[in-house]
């Protein structure tokens, strides 16, 4: 996530259309935004656990232990153990990586492909615009979860394919946002100026338009990360996504639901992990939106 944002921010610093201090300003605004900072902290924790989780986890997350079956939270198993006696804390730590991957890759696909399509559509206009945007409408006219399930069925199960499926589902959102940004920016003076200096379409699109359409896309990226985490959980509910015995939060929550009355901890902690992460991304998105451009508020 942080990577995506950092990478996409880079060209802006090279370009000079916005005042030099714009991104520093944004950062300062964000640091002052309480909710936004809470988001930064929560997302930060996710990233740390996602990266270091496998080294921090007290147990092998897939190791079956008949003696620890349904063990409630205790000193040995801080968050309890599941129906196979596997340590829930360790599984959550490993699951953090899955969530991080699902989020980053799914949203990465959606943001890259979607923004690109939106940019091209908005910039080219006419027939190409019509074709691309109607294709996006087609994708958008499916119930998202059905589309994801159908794509997943076509690609075969597995976490990698789940990421692709979720990614495809979110492409139209990015395309629409990118396109509408382009439509407003296209007519600005500095674009005219660049064109009169003989800049190619590609150069105008990627060096002039894209950086200026970035703000809403970044906000959408953070918000989509939250949705991607929830989408993984929904796919797990239908038994798709990560393959057993590997842990993902959605899978743990979905499996744990059958035991809620006997061993509530099995579903409770992965549920909390999902909730805190989703909230983290949403807080961060809110913070970024307020920090970057107040006029963006309420566009979603």
């Amino acid at each position: 996530m942080a990577e995506t944002a950092a990478r996409s921010a880079r060209p802006v610093q090279v370009e000079q259309e916005k005042p030099r201090g714009y991104w520093e300003d944004t950062l300062r605004q964000l640091l002052r935004h309480r909710v936004g900072m809470l988001g930064v902290v929560l997302v930060g924790i996710l990233i740390v656990i996602g990266v270091l989780g496998p080294y921090l986890a007290p147990y092998d997350p897939n190791a079956i232990d008949a003696r620890a079956r349904f063990a409630p939270p205790s000193a040995a198993h801080w968050l309890g153990a599941d129906d196979f006696g596997r340590d829930i804390l360790s599984r959550i730590m490993h699951g953090a990586r899955v969530s991080l991957q699902v989020g980053a890759i799914a949203v990465g696909i959606a943001a890259t492909v979607g923004s690109l399509l939106g940019l091209v559509a908005g910039y080219a206009g006419r027939l190409l615009d019509e074709v691309i945007m109607r294709a996006m409408d087609v994708l958008f006219a499916f119930p998202a979860i059905l589309l994801a399930i159908a794509i997943l069925a076509a690609l075969g199960k597995g976490v990698a394919n789940a990421m692709i499926a979720i990614g495809i589902v979110y492409i139209p959102i990015f395309a629409r946002i990118a396109r509408s940004s382009v439509l407003t920016i296209r007519e600005e003076e500095f674009i005219e100026a660049a064109r009169s200096c003989g800049a190619t379409d590609g150069r105008i699109l990627f060096r002039h338009i894209l950086p200026n359409a970035m703000a809403p896309l970044i906000v959408e990226t953070t918000l989509s990360l939250a949705f991607a985490i929830l989408a993984e959980a929904a796919l797990s509910f239908f038994g798709l996504g990560v393959q057993p015995p590997d842990a993902s939060w959605g899978r743990m929550l979905s499996e744990g639901r059958a035991y809620f009355q006997q061993s509530a901890w099995m579903a409770l902690f992965p549920g909390l992990a999902i909730m805190l992460t989703v909230m983290g991304f949403n807080f961060l998105g809110d913070g970024l939106r307020d920090a970057m451009d107040p006029s963006l508020r309420g566009k979603r």
């Binding site: 897939n62 069925a153 199960k157 035991y259």
Partner: protein
């Protein structure tokens, strides 16, 4: 403003109420601990704990029950949605479990699994063993009021064995060349190209051999709602979300069925289905999750009963693929697994470990059990086969049957201990069938259900090239034995034959058997007269409800 704040307050309270169950409330956790202890006890000696309980209830009930009352409606929740109702093309249990109450065969296995005359009153085999002649019961009416005759038997059987129908169960009646001849209205003769000694048994197993009225056929040659002679008729089908059975007023058994109607709806989620029963929304549920067995048994508003299934859960090994074409590799897997643990993790101990296909409850049980867990022996066999360091393989359970996915996870760890590294691929049913049906797997995990006669345990699954032989197993001696076994009728003679066949099969291990599960059904205390059958049939005509 004030009104707004009040409204907001109310809404917030509502929202709080809605969100709070996600937090750990005190109550469920406490009861969870209790149940955990009980579950552990149950886990240690599953059979000892349940059986007396079940018998106790059975012994008590008749006293409490009193006389059956006619009338009323039973609300029934299935687990899975049915896949069609044409008895000649479906194979899913959820479809058969509906058809159990709609169609009847010439013969029928009663609750004790004894073969009874049903639509036929008697039958005899010709001298040469090729022809079976059935004397039909007179005055049996289809639910549409027309009398069933030999013509209907001919129609049903011929449609089943017609290769164009594509029926998976055609073999129950015989090969496509089988001749079905109407002698008079109440006499029908079936002639097979080879002697078929267990034909009366074969047509009593499931409803693919039920007698269907020709009027069920639609213009395009399909059957969406079959008309039968059974105690109930299908009067309403809403896709696969709701199906209504109403009593067949023309039913031939006097006084039966008791119920006026049965409403069947599928509820896939275990928690929701069980809650529906506990809160009184439905009267009877088809399946409960094994992990909740204890909790439901402790609930005074729920009656839970079990019966050992006539089934086996097994690992099917692809004998057409390296390294599984080597019998030593398959045996190594059979030695590597800990069946007790698989049963515990896969089905919460509501099962018995199994080394051959047939469970102890069946008259066809054989005491041949060479594979006690032996990690050393498994390693030796792997080394002999040329895999001293093991190999990598994929396990193929299906999410359709949760226990196969759970067993696979325990299996993974057990195989790792002998050096076999395995990954799990658990697709949904449709995809699983495709992979399994086309030899696109290393080892799949599944189960066979509703097996009554020995023939069903051995013939179609393992005879060279036959329809259900998905492992590619082939052995001439075995083939000869199971062919002979189905051509004769005498039990003792057949027992000897199948004992030999069983030994060959277990030794060569195209299937590695894991466990024999118990069938679980649960219903509300006001429901009476239901018997949990080992073959998983749900027969509702003796069921009645208290006011």
């Amino acid at each position: 403003m004030k009104r707004l704040s009040v409204l907001l307050l109310v809404l917030l309270v509502l929202a709080l109420g809605a969100c709070s169950p996600a937090e750990p409330t005190q109550e469920p956790v406490e009861s969870g601990e209790q149940e955990l202890e009980q579950e552990e006890e149950a886990a240690e000696e599953p059979a000892a704990e349940e059986e007396p309980a079940a018998e106790e209830e059975a012994a008590e009930e008749p006293v409490v029950e009193g006389e059956p009352v006619s009338g009323g409606t039973l609300n029934v929740a299935f687990q899975n949605e049915w896949s069609g109702l044409d008895p000649h093309t479906v194979s899913s249990y959820s479809s058969y479990q509906i058809l159990n109450n709609v169609l009847e065969g010439l013969t029928f296995y009663d609750d004790e699994l004894n073969l009874q005359p049903w639509l036929a009153e008697s039958w005899e085999q010709s001298e040469d063993g090729l022809t079976w002649t059935f004397q039909l019961r007179e005055g049996v009416m289809f639910s549409n009021g027309r009398e069933m005759t030999a013509e209907d038997v001919k129609f049903s059987y011929e449609r089943l064995i017609d290769p164009a129908t594509g029926a998976g169960n055609a073999g129950r009646v015989g090969p496509p060349e089988t001749q079905i001849e109407v002698i008079d209205d109440y006499t029908v003769a079936i002639t097979h190209p080879e002697p078929f000694g267990i034909f009366p048994q074969s047509i009593g197993f499931d409803k693919s051999t039920g007698i269907v009225a020709r009027e069920s056929l639609e213009e395009d040659g399909t059957i969406s709602v079959p008309i039968g002679t059974g105690p109930f008729q299908i009067t309403e089908v809403q896709g696969t979300t709701r199906l209504v059975l109403e009593r067949n007023e023309n039913y031939w058994q006097d006084g039966l069925p008791y119920l006026d109607s049965i409403i069947i709806e599928p509820i896939p989620d275990d928690t929701v289905r069980e809650t529906a029963l506990r809160s009184g929304d439905v009267d009877w549920i088809l399946a409960i999750a094994p992990q909740n067995f204890q909790a439901l048994q402790d609930d005074p508003n729920v009656v839970v009963e079990t019966a050992p299934q006539l089934s086996y859960d097994y690992i099917g090994i692809n004998t057409t693929r390296e390294p599984f074409d080597d019998v030593r590799v398959r045996q190594a897997i059979a030695y590597a697994i800990d069946r007790e643990q698989l049963c515990e993790f896969g089905y919460y101990g509501l099962c018995d470990p199994l080394q051959g296909p047939v469970g102890m409850g069946s008259p066809w049980f054989f005491e041949y059990a060479p594979y006690e867990r032996d990690v050393e022996r498994a390693r030796e066999l792997l080394a002999e086969a040329g895999y001293p360091d093991g190999f990598e393989m994929e396990l193929l359970p299906t999410v359709e049957y949760g226990e196969t996915v759970r067993a696979a996870q325990a299996l993974q760890q057990q195989l790792a201990e002998v050096g076999i590294t395995s990954t799990i691929n658990a697709p949904e049913w449709t995809q699983w069938l495709e992979l399994e049906g086309n030899f696109m797997y290393d080892a799949y995990i599944c189960n066979w259900n509703g097996l009554i006669d020995a023939d069903q345990y051995y013939y179609l699954q393992h005879h060279t090239g036959l329809v259900f032989n998905f492992t590619g197993y082939s052995n001439e001696d075995f083939d000869a034995l199971v062919e002979e076994g189905r051509s004769i009728s005498d039990f003792d003679q057949r027992y000897e034959i199948y004992e030999q066949a069983n030994q060959i099969l277990v030794d060569e291990a195209p299937y590695v058997y894991m466990y024999n599960k118990r069938e679980i059904r649960a219903w509300a205390p006001h429901v009476h007269g239901f018997t949990v059958r080992p073959d998983q049939a749900n027969n509702f005509w003796t069921v009645w409800v208290e006011e």
